[in-house]
Subunit: 139 residues, 3 copies
Amino acid sequence: MHQQHETITCNTHGTGLYEITGAVSSFVSISGINDGLLTLLVQHTSASLTIQENADPDVRDDLIDALDRLAPQSRNLYRHTAEGLDDMPAHIKTALTDTSLSIPIMAGVMRLGTWQGIYLAEHRIHPHTRCIAAHIIGL
Amino acid sequence: MHQQHETITCNTHGTGLYEITGAVSSFVSISGINDGLLTLLVQHTSASLTIQENADPDVRDDLIDALDRLAPQSRNLYRHTAEGLDDMPAHIKTALTDTSLSIPIMAGVMRLGTWQGIYLAEHRIHPHTRCIAAHIIGL
Amino acid sequence: MHQQHETITCNTHGTGLYEITGAVSSFVSISGINDGLLTLLVQHTSASLTIQENADPDVRDDLIDALDRLAPQSRNLYRHTAEGLDDMPAHIKTALTDTSLSIPIMAGVMRLGTWQGIYLAEHRIHPHTRCIAAHIIGL
């Protein structure tokens, strides 16, 4: 049984979903593990992970809009406003989506469905470099 | 250390929570692993996983209603409407609930609480065959 | 490759976020595993897990308020009311946040970001003893 760690980085330029499926696939390939378990953990509290449809880009825009409706920017709703009006909504959106993801690896590839892509969800409006801790264990 | 993979299928007939605890338990038993880690990954973006109360069925109906309020069907809210009015809400509900679940295995059984059941949440209105990638590692 | 199990308990006294990072860190240290994967699973359906900012306590209060807006207490919204008006909202909030978390371990510590803390989210108003199943695998 072997293990490997990596840090996958994602440079964001505003709120949106950024596909990281390719970067994650590369890590799986380079690890040489054919049969095992992959774990991803976003190392931030105002960005998150989500697995979403990788076909129609409208899905990503609609998801971003939906999260905005669920956690709107507002001067009246939050105590925590010192870091910008988009900060507290970003924490809420992070709580509502995923911080960690676990994906089985079989025959050297992730067992994702046909239409599934892995996305870093940036919830802040300014550019950030986001880090995702990646770990794989297996044979 | 051993590993095993499986695909658990769930035939759905409309929006709702479908219990898969029994099917998952069977996989754990058949694997012969007594001490380890179980991972489940739904292979779709309009169905998801959730661990919920397995006692009062009203809880499942109330949860489905709550998700409908959070991601309502509407001709005006979404760009992505070509696959049906229930499709984009299904993607949003998937993002809000779980795509992967990780469950420790001890003495050959899942370490679930007394009232916890594992459910496939179908967010589309038409019947589907849903696949869940299952993986177990341990001794 | 080694494994270890633990049950981390958290005594709650009303709705709120209770930090368990220290208790989880202790389990990782005592396990003696330097390189591996940690899994946490809350064993309840009206309390959950979340990784949130550990700096400004206002973030936790704002998150609790946001969850209250998304799943309000109401006599009219739910069928399941026999266990108290806060029970069904607690199940919904559990579904919206995390039931399990997966965290890579490197050099004997969790690969969390600087501002990330692990929290037990209590969604009921009365005191409870909450149990979190913890598992670690690695070397």
